[in-house]
Symmetry: D2
Subunit: 352 residues, 4 copies
């Protein structure tokens, strides 16, 4: 059994990986750490865990981060794992981080992200020297490098759906001007557990709220990743996130002009080949739906080409807390430990 | 035009009465006062008011409560209006209060409520001498006294639905032992505008959350009101409030044993007679629904009697922000100024 | 009092205009006609109308369409009003139609629409000779012609939000290639009252379902209208409608490349000038939300320009049953009878 | 591997047991049968099953019910399994039925149910002789008999929550007069996959709709089961089901007068002892919530006793499609084949 430690265990991200690890045949959770609710049993924080887990939440200072474990999962906000990274690297403990701290290959790339981020004041990275050893955790693109990575930067939830949805197009140089208009529709849970005005039920229920129009920070990693794929030469993602009155899920609708006319059939074939062998990408014949992936680790993708063959619409659906967060982390951890990518991730979508 | 001042104008209660007054032919809003967002235009706080109202929110200390107005509406938490009550009484300014401060006829009655309330520490009333001059604002029961009242204690949202639903039964002494089991289903907006864990979207969406089981403070005013009606001799309401994943509305389902066998037809007749002339109580032939009153001031009521004629189920539906709060306040203000009870309240339910 | 007759009165469209007319100071409803539920009181079909309207639904054959009225409202599917149009024209009775039957200026334009429509088999129009006398009912663009029109073709719900959102850009020739990528998010009520798999609660709740990707019929009227405005020379709308788990509302997010660089400030000014004097278009400083227009006749619009000034995102929000349907019809009827455009439409958004 | 056949495989009940069996280590699905969508792959009917199951739906006449299998699951409406029962009994094939066909021990008991059922015209049972060999499938009460039963009548969804919530009280003779007032709150999925007015999204969203007030057919099995437990002498359940705008879940709130004063602590102890060893009943210290059991097979229960110790409120929460239907069926099938009761049912609640 591989031993895991979860930092930030009482947020939705920590809860997600905790539940996946509890059901995983090859991992055991050795300790759960969080500032909030330290000292409580996790089943008192989350009553739905009653009889399933009675670990006690440890305060960060009660626990030596990285002790007695083979991997640390930081389900924490930006700028937290940076502070522990060198110590873990020195101790030879691998870790995976949910924030933007280790998603970027260079300090320059990180700076562009940090400047865009609404709550990061300082664009300098506290563990700049380790960025080169971290791998960006979109499992389908980087599985080989993830397998041997000491550090994995788990991708942003919106970025997962956009990157998987557009990767074949960019890799083949099919996007005219590298420009894509993307509308992302997300449930409330991406904003986490902390009550806030935007996620207040009376405000969000039955509502649609566009926010950070053309300025969301996840675009940076999507543009950097897609713009460097295969025949691509840069990417511009005009991205508008919309908060919906639903709890889970991200549906991304992406509009591009094709650099040359291609039929829908040819594109679908290309997509299926591109993702062959990847257990969690499904290229559907019908538009994906939010509930079609709910609670599972799937990314469902579908395409439509305009009648004149000049423009394409790609749609992707993921569960933002699974493929968009803890599911990708679990998949990455499987790769890091040489396990089947789908281990512990068999749970299908909850429908209806 | 009667001049109104709203205290606590930026909460949902203040917003509700503001919008009703803006559309009322006989009232004008002279000032809106609130601690939160003081200095902002109300349409910046609530963008849906753009082009409808551009009043600026005044801080409580910028405004002399009760100045330049014929009526003050306190859309404030418990223990706020108590502090201003004597001053207003001395100045001869009438007021209506949304909290429990003036719902009770005596200090003893108030104390029982205050002890039950989750956030009132002190059961003593700061304006005890004025309690006798205040009228409890269930318009249908107390319209004559409200018309001449200097102070109206607007009823609690759950209490409105329970009292209107059970008043004819208690008045006729039909409830065996005076005991009724009541399940109340409420939308999130009753808890107000402030983000909180129970009203966090990711928690509440698709959820039902029972709370304050057998201990909700609104029961006190319901028991005191019903237990003193006509042939009643006391009332015991076993009340379980349930928070639902919906924004507005309260549906109350009430189970009682009848003290003597009565047919459904006879009871329906009795209810229709009891509420004759009251514009907002509708006794339906089908079960009421939450959306059947949404956005309106109606209280819809329906009854079912068991086959043996021994037990009765009464259901009532109201919009908690209308008949359960600002709509009742508007109706009471109409009565206080000798206007038609329904003035400014013509808006029907929003369906679908 | 102007006398109105509603055909198709028991659907959501008929219900919408019925409720607006009931509250209108200058109209009276003389008869309501529908195949479904004929013979019933409308308050038995819709219990929320209890005490508000007790008209009896007449079967189409019991009623002479157009008799005893000054205006007929066809809240009916495509191909219904075509059959009555000549008779009404001969009798000099004006009418407004909710379907696509009279939205097009020529048989050619109509044919392009009919071919795209999922349920119209025959692209020929049964009253082709009357198309030239009908006016397309986007009130803000055609108010003068509507005032004297014998026939008004009420616009499609998606088309309203797209056309109002993009009209200033097209009028000024600011859209590069005339191409706009549009994602429309709609509540369920646009599909009407009839139960169907897509609108089945267990399927739609918490879901997002893209449909008719790049093939929705409302695009035809939007392209024809926008492409002929001012300096425009054609329009291509890449439109993806998404069905959401909400009842009312359409939020449209529209992405275009600007033909020349323009600042956000300049565009906002242009929009405000363009819609000056129009009571229902609000150009906001913040993104519009679905609930910001709920239950009202507003169309809220907001814009964002990319940092390089080359691309623009326009967002618009309407209530699909109001500005997207019955509200626009009421506004058009006001214009047709020389009344204030906003008469009977004072109801503000229901928030929260 | 035990071989299973599912009849009625394309409804929500059939889907539920199909997905459980697909993930079960000891069962294989040999054939899926349904009238609707026969000839289609199940993943075309339910796209979320893509890559998970590609069985083809067989028409009832293409398949010999009971052939090539060890157990048949009838996820069908009332009166279907009755017709096949004798044939299966003769062939020695065990079966479990989701309808009321085999929930009752005698023709008299069945008749009382059938008379209450809204769509059963004939109260006579077509396989009356087999009723005595069928066991009522509330696993926690009847596990030993289920283990050897040739026929299991899977319980009604409401009945599961009520029976588990009240069984210890009735067994101990603690319910005064045997009378309990129960309000049941249910999601839409209990009504199945077929579009219908009550489950039409525009009607049900944000709504609460009481129905079959004091007349729901599930009460019959609850009264018969509870009224015959231990020290009980009959049961009267005053039951009001309420349809909510949510997809899954049943929360039941049950009010009773105690026949003698008992403390909450004593009752909680009694409940925990009563259900000791049962893997899916959790007696919580806080009120259960709908989402606390979502997607899992748990039944969460909590109790509150009035201050005077005279009255009790019991609340239970289940997922109506799991513990209320397919989860109970799976648990019963585990018992029938001598497996661990929890096999294949490890999936925890999906929260948030």
């Amino acid at each position: 059994m591989h031993r895991a430690q979860i930092i930030g265990a009482t947020g939705y991200g920590g809860l997600g990986i905790l539940e996946l690890l509890l059901g995983h045949p090859d991992f055991e959770v050795r300790s759960i750490v969080a500032r909030d609710d330290a000292g409580k049993r996790i089943s008192d924080v989350y009553p739905h865990l009653t009889d399933r887990c009675d670990l006690v939440v440890q305060a960060p200072d009660d626990s030596q981060v990285g002790a007695d474990c083979d991997i640390v999962v930081f389900a924490t906000p930006d700028r937290v794992s940076q502070g522990y990274a060198s110590g873990l690297a020195d101790a030879g403990v691998r870790f995976i981080d949910y924030s933007g701290d280790f998603r970027f290959a260079s300090a320059d790339d990180y700076a562009r992200y940090a400047e865009r981020h609404p709550s990061i004041g300082d664009a300098a990275h506290a563990a700049e020297g380790l960025l080169g050893r971290a791998v960006y955790g979109v499992s389908e693109l980087n599985h080989e490098r993830i397998a041997s990575a000491p550090i994995v930067g788990n991708p942003g939830c919106f970025a997962v759906g956009i990157i998987l949805g557009l990767a074949p197009l960019f890799a083949d140089g099919l996007v005219a001007d590298g420009t894509v208009a993307v509308d992302g529709l997300t449930g409330s849970s991406g904003a986490g557990k902390k009550p806030a005005p935007l996620q207040h039920f009376s405000h969000l229920n039955d509502n649609v709220v566009p926010y950070r129009v053309l300025s969301h920070q996840h675009v940076v990693e999507a543009e950097q990743t897609l713009g460097r794929l295969g025949m691509a030469s840069g990417a511009t993602i005009d991205f508008v996130p919309h908060l919906l009155g639903t709890t889970r899920g991200i549906l991304s609708t992406m509009h591009a002009t094709l650099s040359r006319s291609v039929s829908r059939e040819a594109l679908v074939d290309r997509y299926r080949n591109f993702f062959r062998g990847q257990p969690f990408v499904r290229v559907l014949d019908v538009p994906p739906t939010l509930k079609g992936t709910l609670g599972s680790n799937y990314c469902d993708i579908s395409l439509t080409v305009s009648q004149d063959g000049k423009r394409v619409v790609v749609m992707s659906s993921i569960d933002n807390l699974m493929k968009g967060q803890s599911g990708s982390a679990m998949q990455n951890m499987n790769l890091m430990f040489g396990l089947d990518a789908a281990a512990g991730l068999e749970r299908g979508p909850l429908y209806p």
